[in-house]
Symmetry: C2
């Protein structure tokens, strides 16, 4: 199974052999943006591999957990809580609703908004998914020692 998460896009093999120098030491693979993109890719691959059976993407999982823990939120507020803009959260919520994990209710106090709540199925899936997500976090951080992990997380938080 393992499928070697990077068979098709392993990236950066046979690295910088025979490259032209003279670029002031600029190496694109060493830049923080490139490394962040790669680390995010690796995490997403681990997430899909380990959460795949439940058919939840990282963003769908985040949105579902936020709806469950917040109890009832509007769509835009959910977007702010999960760092997704209105166009993005719209699609994420639409797919969660289509799967019966989330339901929308009209808010008589504000007819613009749709209040979101988790269904029983959504709550149950969330419970299972949190246990799985804990393992995904551990797998993602596995290359770091137990001492390095909290250090890395504290530095990463500063970059947001």
């Amino acid at each position: 199974m393992t499928k070697a998460a990077g068979m098709r896009a392993p990236a950066c093999d046979e690295a910088a052999a025979g490259e032209t120098p003279g670029w002031g030491g600029y190496v694109v693979e060493a830049q923080v943006g490139f490394l962040l993109r790669r680390a995010h890719q690796r995490h997403a691959a681990l997430f899909q591999e380990m959460m795949g059976a439940r058919d939840l993407t990282p963003t769908q999982f985040t949105a579902l957990i936020k709806i469950v823990t917040c109890g009832a939120v509007t769509q835009n507020r959910l977007g702010r809580l999960t760092a997704m803009d209105p166009a993005t959260i719209q699609g994420v919520v639409r797919r969660l609703v289509a799967r019966g994990l989330v339901e929308r209710a009209f808010d008589p106090a504000d007819r613009r908004t749709h209040v979101l709540r988790a269904t029983a199925a959504g709550l149950e899936l969330a419970r299972q998914a949190v246990a799985c997500a804990t393992e995904i976090t551990a797998a993602t951080l596995e290359p770091l020692s137990l001492a390095e992990q909290p250090l890395f997380l504290s530095l990463l938080k500063k970059l947001i």
Copy 2:
């Protein structure tokens, strides 16, 4: 009940106020996957803000730099060098070619491949963009002290 303090655009405002406990201490905003996604988002926003005038996305920039420094590469090999799968690199290269920054040549030795090279315009844009990208890297890492920056990068590299 939520305490609705200010509604800003970014995300994750008014954090976890009034959330239901009992999830074993799992806080989705503190997980490495969420933080990586947010850090990558912030970098992408800085990139667009500072590179916007040259109309290059992070991936287009990475691909162009790799073509320039490698001299001549096939499309799939470029994808491996930049961590993009064949479907993704196809679109990136197509847009670079459409803008006249890259040109394709047939390889008589292998009729499957198209050899990619930077045009004069692509080379000139790459020169300017590298200077800009250096500033983007600095801006991204700016929240960290000069001592923390290499430490963070070394830890981040281990996660790939």
